[in-house]
């Protein structure tokens, strides 16, 4: 049906996007790989070949293992809150109620708040040990105010990030719930299946795919959390809340170690690609359907 003429036209129409994305993917990444093998510091003139030294130093510094542990804790912590919270909220919002539209709007709102705003609002207005709301409440109850961001920096950041992402998982799981086959549910009910049995044997299997999508997509974004850390703790105290992106940023743009930072960047790319591999397979499968 498609003529040779329209094929050529189609190719011409796709090519700008392909060329741009190809350049965007290949040029900077190629440069990062190149820099990662150089002894290159912005403060000292000249560069020289370093072999795998940058990788060796990046991987053997204590900060890397802290950052790796923090990155994983952050991703897993936020995922646990948002997936279980999201399932619960989606099930609740799927029930008949008054003012469902308004509740939905309130629940989704945090997703639209830019990361620097959400982090600073939580940091100052809520977690500040002197004037924050939590401190006021603690004082009201006769307790000692807790300094969240210096006592438990990573947990506080997990809370802030989870607040921003809970709407995302809720919205996706709610969309999935609403496509559930009502007749199947009713048939099961008439056959005497208990609500728990219906939830376990009908709802959960139906949600599995959406839950996987939520986990994979959030992981991609959560591996790159940066702004929330920059404006709340600057990765500290020490390296207590430094994740991999923040470590790479600190090493390359704060310590001007281009070589070391690039090696760190490549390690971050490799980590993200492991996750991306599974995500791409999921989406690819769906494309055929």
């Amino acid at each position: 049906m498609a003529t040779a003429h329209s094929r050529t036209a189609a190719r011409l129409m796709v090519s700008p996007a392909v060329i741009l994305l190809f350049l965007w993917m290949i040029v900077p990444l190629g440069m990062t790989i190149y820099f990662s093998f150089l002894r290159y510091n912005l403060l000292t003139p000249g560069t020289s070949f370093a072999g795998f030294d940058n990788y060796y130093y990046f991987l053997t510094q204590a900060a890397f293992w802290d950052a790796l542990r923090n990155t994983i804790t952050l991703v897993v912590g936020v995922l646990l809150i948002t997936v279980f919270g999201g399932i619960g909220l989606a099930l609740l919002l799927d029930q008949p109620m008054w003012g469902q539209g308004i509740v939905r709007v309130m629940v989704i709102a945090p997703f639209f708040v830019m990361p620097t705003v959400s982090a600073l609002v939580w940091k100052n207005m809520f977690m500040n040990p002197v004037n924050g709301m939590f401190a006021h409440i603690a004082k009201g109850l006769g307790l000692q105010p807790y300094d969240f961001l210096s006592q438990a920096p990573l947990a506080s950041i997990i809370l802030i990030v989870a607040w921003s992402w809970l709407p995302f998982s809720t919205l996706i799981l709610l969309t999935a719930l609403q496509s559930l086959d009502r007749e199947q549910q009713e048939a099961a009910e008439m056959d005497g299946a208990s609500p728990l049995a219906r939830f376990w044997y009908l709802t959960i299997p139906h949600l599995t795919r959406s839950i996987t999508v939520v986990i994979l997509i959030q992981t991609i974004f959560l591996l790159s959390v940066f702004a929330e850390i920059l404006v709340t703790t600057n990765g500290g105290p020490g390296t207590a809340s430094t994740n991999l992106p923040y470590l790479v940023y600190a090493q390359s743009l704060l310590s001007f170690d281009v070589g070391g930072g690039s090696a760190g960047g490549i390690i971050a790319v490799i980590l993200a690609n492991i996750v991306a591999f599974f995500l791409m397979r999921m989406i690819g499968k769906n494309l055929e359907a």
Binding site: A9, A10, M13, V14, A17, V18, L21, W24, V27, P28, L29, M31, T32, F35, L92, L93, Q95, P96, W98, G99, I102, R104, M106, V107, I108, P110, F112, V113, M114, P115, T116, V117, L120, V121, K123, N124, M125, M133, W163, T175, A176, V213, I217, I220, F226, A227, L230, V231, L244, P245, Y249, S262, A268, V269, A272, V275, L279, M280, I283, E288
Partner: protein, 276 residues
């Protein structure tokens, strides 16, 4: 009897859902309320703060102490500019892939998506150095290009899933009637594609407005959008709660409103069509 239990149940569900919804929304609500208080009242205990008189002084001061309007304008330029540029590149590409699919269309789509999986930090160093050497640091034009490129895969994907839903028979009918490729696009496809393009545009504006990696790394003052401007409140300015609240309220209000309109498209766009 059964009627009564469903009503009770509905009341319980309503109360619970409203309570949780309110709790989740509370930080935003609190920020908005605080922005209408004076600086001295904003740090008072919560109930005293609420009781304090309302005022608009923080909104005025945010503008006089720092050029708020400039940063707001930067955000507008960056998000609209990058969205329009992405649409110009993506519409022909998505159109071609949806209506003239080849053997490799699926691979091409998957490859485009894979570029989105690369963590930004992996190319931070070369991007920063390139921007420095080209004199693009703290310039809007450089950032528009970066924001266009990072969102291009999502734009193409969203448009592709929308275009796919336009029935091919309509095109065949138009061709039978002797419509040229040009009039086919102009009179048949465009009217059917406009809703999809509009939703794609909306979602992309939201994503670009809130982007907080490249905007923080590549701008300092002149080209700084609201993400960077608000970040400058991290210390010690952040202790001025009322001004921080006013700046934050103005930064999130336009997107909150746009966002509420785009709930459905959000799911589709962010899951690359995997959940509709």
């Amino acid at each position: 009897m059964a009627r009564k239990t469903t009503q009770t149940r509905k009341a319980v569900v309503t109360a619970l859902a409203w309570a949780i919804g309110f709790l989740i929304f509370f930080p935003i609500l609190w920020t908005i309320l605080m922005s209408f208080k004076s600086e001295g009242d904003a740090i008072k205990a919560p109930l005293d703060m609420l009781a304090a008189p309302w005022s608009l002084e923080s909104y005025g001061e945010v503008q006089t102490r720092s050029n708020y309007a400039l940063h707001f304008w930067n955000s507008v330029i960056l998000s609209f500019g990058s969205t329009l540029l992405a649409l110009v590149i993506a519409i022909p590409a998505a159109w071609a892939m949806a209506f003239v699919p080849g053997k490799r269309t699926k691979d091409l789509l998957m490859w485009m998506l894979s570029t989105k999986m690369m963590p930004a930090v992996g190319v931070l160093v070369p991007m920063y150095l390139m921007f420095r050497d080209l004199g693009l640091l703290d310039s809007r034009s450089g950032l528009v290009v970066v924001l266009t490129l990072i969102n291009l895969p999502i734009v193409i994907w969203m448009l592709y899933t929308y275009f796919k839903e336009i029935p091919g028979e309509i095109l065949e009918a138009a061709r039978m009637d002797g419509a040229s490729l040009r009039s086919e696009i102009l009179y048949v496809l465009t009217p059917m594609a406009i809703p999809g393009i509009a939703s794609t545009m909306l979602l992309n504006i939201i994503l670009a407005w809130n982007e907080a990696f490249w905007t923080l790394q590549l701008t300092t003052s002149d080209a700084a959008p609201l993400t960077q401007f608000i970040a400058s409140y991290s210390s010690p300015e952040g202790l001025f709660y009322a001004k921080l609240s006013a700046a934050s309220t103005m930064a999130i209000a336009p997107i909150l409103i746009l966002g509420w309109f785009s709930q459905k498209q959000l799911v589709r766009g962010l899951t690359f069509g995997a959940v509709k």
